[in-house]
Symmetry: D2
Subunit: 268 residues, 4 copies
């Protein structure tokens, strides 16, 4: 078969005697040696993380795994109710809500900060005061375009999201608190002065900044939120099996349905 019919890959390959992943023996080099989150980092970033990067990465995955009865968790439970023989369908159903609104903030924040740093007049800010200047500039620009600052504000945790200081601490401890996190912190410091109201730095946003600082591609951050959420959805479905609520939710909605004609509706 011609050259052009070959499909290159640096991931999984195998022969009769060997199974390799990224050029390493799966059994000898990876199983028992490399952790699961470490492998996920490696397969997507194409390099093994440092121990500090890995601890930050695991902390982000833990932070994003489950937020209780989110729309995605409810959708997964309802799908499990309807088709319990297909766990993959329930998981997929939940992940499909991982779009712009509920899981998108992590990626949006990483991209926003990355763009701001790329657009900054060189050199990259070094001091907190320089980061504050850049933060003022990007907030003013966003305000002028009537754009929201991703990662700023939270509908519930109005006085501060507890994940934010904790992840900053973990990143600092692991030596991974870089320009994205520092700019994000600066936005938190100056936003009240510029916008006239106090808004917290939210957890989804700080996760995006932290992932960008450990070198993961900013236009792929939603993928890591989806990985985290897969574990959360497994937990939700495991709980639905032990202690179901989906039928009760369905009954609640169905019983409170109210026929409301559409003004443009017509006769047969």
């Amino acid at each position: 078969m011609s050259e052009s019919s070959r499909y290159p890959t640096s991931l999984g390959t195998s022969t009769r005697d060997e199974i390799n992943l990224m050029g390493h023996s799966l059994a000898e080099d990876l199983m028992g040696t490399v952790g699961f989150a470490e492998l996920a980092f490696w397969m997507t970033a194409n390099r093994r993380p440092t121990s500090g990067e890995l601890r930050t990465f695991e902390a982000v995955l833990v932070a994003l795994a489950d937020h209780g009865f989110t729309p995605t968790a409810i959708a997964a439970r309802l799908t499990y109710l309807s088709a319990p023989e297909s766990i993959q369908g329930a998981i997929a159903s939940g992940l499909l809500g991982g779009g712009s609104r509920f899981l998108g903030v992590t990626e949006d924040t990483g991209k926003f900060l990355n763009q701001a740093l790329a657009d900054a007049e060189c050199p990259v800010p070094q001091t907190d005061a320089e980061f504050d200047d850049l933060a003022r500039k990007v907030i003013l620009e966003a305000r002028a375009e009537k754009a929201v600052i991703p990662g700023l504000g939270h509908p519930v945790h109005k006085d501060g999201d507890p994940r934010t200081p904790r992840l900053l601490q973990i990143a600092e401890e692991g030596g991974t608190r870089g320009a994205h996190l520092r700019l994000f912190e600066a936005i938190g410091r100056v936003s009240e002065e510029v916008l006239g109201k106090k808004l917290p730095l939210n957890g989804a946003g700080v996760c995006g900044a932290a992932l960008a600082d450990i070198g993961l591609p900013v236009d792929f951050l939603r993928g890591f939120a989806l990985l985290a959420r897969t574990a959360g959805l497994l937990g939700q479905i495991a709980e639905e099996r032990r202690n179901p609520v989906a039928n009760k939710i369905y009954m609640h909605v169905d019983r409170n349905a109210e026929y409301t004609p559409c003004s443009t509706e017509e006769e047969v």
Copy 2:
């Protein structure tokens, strides 16, 4: 609102100041302290794993993460080609192949071994000889019912799947080599004598036995295969972005389509 309108959960809950998961503070108790795979175990098994259990669990997730260009990986890449703006759709598309044939062996093996142990005349086997006796019995029963023994045989690794001895070693080291793995090993030892041909214990099967031995619910093992595969699919899509092959696969199939009328086809 009445008692009956409450939705109980032991997973994520939050107040204005707190975010909890399984009754613990997400920020204070879990982030930076509990690893991602550990959290996935905890949320589904409803207890924290021992260090030996965790190492076995991570080794299983690593073993199942990616097997190269499987049907699920190809489906995910083709979906990404068609809808690159929706990473969640590509991941979901790949996971939906996690059904009976390609990801099902892990769960099937765990269930089969679990049932065999439950059906065994008490007491549970202790010695290798006793496990061999039980293995002979279940193989003969399966043969009488023309049923396959899940986890036995592999289309490629005919002389042995390298994951199998490695996972057994990891389980032994972590103190998690229990009755499921021991019965699985016994099946490997006696199958040639009973069936008349040598068949290897495959990697998907040994993963199912290992997960059953660390106490995960045997009728939910497919869920862990799906979690592992989510990381693999992220890797596949990340590679598709760097070094695409999906369009080439599509072109190959499309150009080799051959109109073949169906005998029962009719005229308009």
Copy 3:
């Protein structure tokens, strides 16, 4: 390229100047001539339906399209809420609930009746009395195996499902009331006498019997329920855009979440 690399298909093929479907010119022979439901029948049954078959088929698709706030409709709306940029994700999320419990009755009924007719001592029943005898036999057998009779009973329409007599009438008018529908009717007639309680023949079941009678493959009937439901889900999402309820459902569930520790939960 060798013969073995060709992919046969009787469906869509094209050249620079032509687009064909099932060997016919899409533009000249099908568009404007063949209806959409007719095409769906043709592509799956591999023959064009008669006008009577088509009217029955369309009536079934109309009957199964939407049942209001079902779990699948709610899941699709919640997914749309989370990822409104991806309509395909919302539709897919809803369809994934099309499994054994909520959309499965149609296929289960078709299969059950088909098997009963195949198992019947020849000749196939001709008179109502003969169908009644066969119905008594299969109900008694199902009772002996503690199996449910698919299509019998309804949680809400206890005195009769209005779709059932209507579909029987349409089938009769179109000349498609065959052995499956007649056996289904017989089950309705004799079930009270055999089981001791009155149970209605439900709409999902009569649809399965009607699809089997027009020659569609009984182990693929769920596919037609999914096609019907796709139209219903489009309607649900179109309404969610005009008059949203998903956020209100989410808020209701989230606000009524109640942390309930799991007895086996452990300390960090």
Copy 4:
């Protein structure tokens, strides 16, 4: 329960004796009277189509149902191969490719034309010459922004897509050839003069223009492409059951995998 806990809907509702859809009796008013495509139009547009609108709508659905071995069809077949017990998963997997690239042209064209008409200085063009003027203007604007004109050009049907003249004829016959189709035709007439090369008006684009002319919401047109494609995917999976190719595709890709190290890959 308070007013605020009611969920309004104009779609499916039911009581013990009745099943309604859009305020009409499903059994008495819709089944056997309203066709399936007609119902899909009605549920999304919130009004019943005229007979001309319906014929155009059905022709569009027929045109978009199946295009042979597209990435979505291949993905659905591969998913069916892996999880044949879950037809809903295979359909969903295929639909998830219904995003920006392969099914997006229909919606993109409808939106583009709609915006161009909305932006046109009033009054709306009446004569072909006026439509040509508007077409020249929007093509020049798109070129200035380096934007593509959706619906213009085709990788295979370079001399003309046979669906385009046929759909225009059907729309003309049904009295539904309105401003969107007329502007689309004008783009076809003047594009060579403005862009310097001959490009055909493609089938996906003309479908979008036709759907916009029958009053369907232009930002929801992808939904109708997904409905059409559901029928096509059913056909693909029905064929995969009779005459499978997915395993052969998988084998082709797997056997031609070629390990290609990534330059940034590291040692364990």
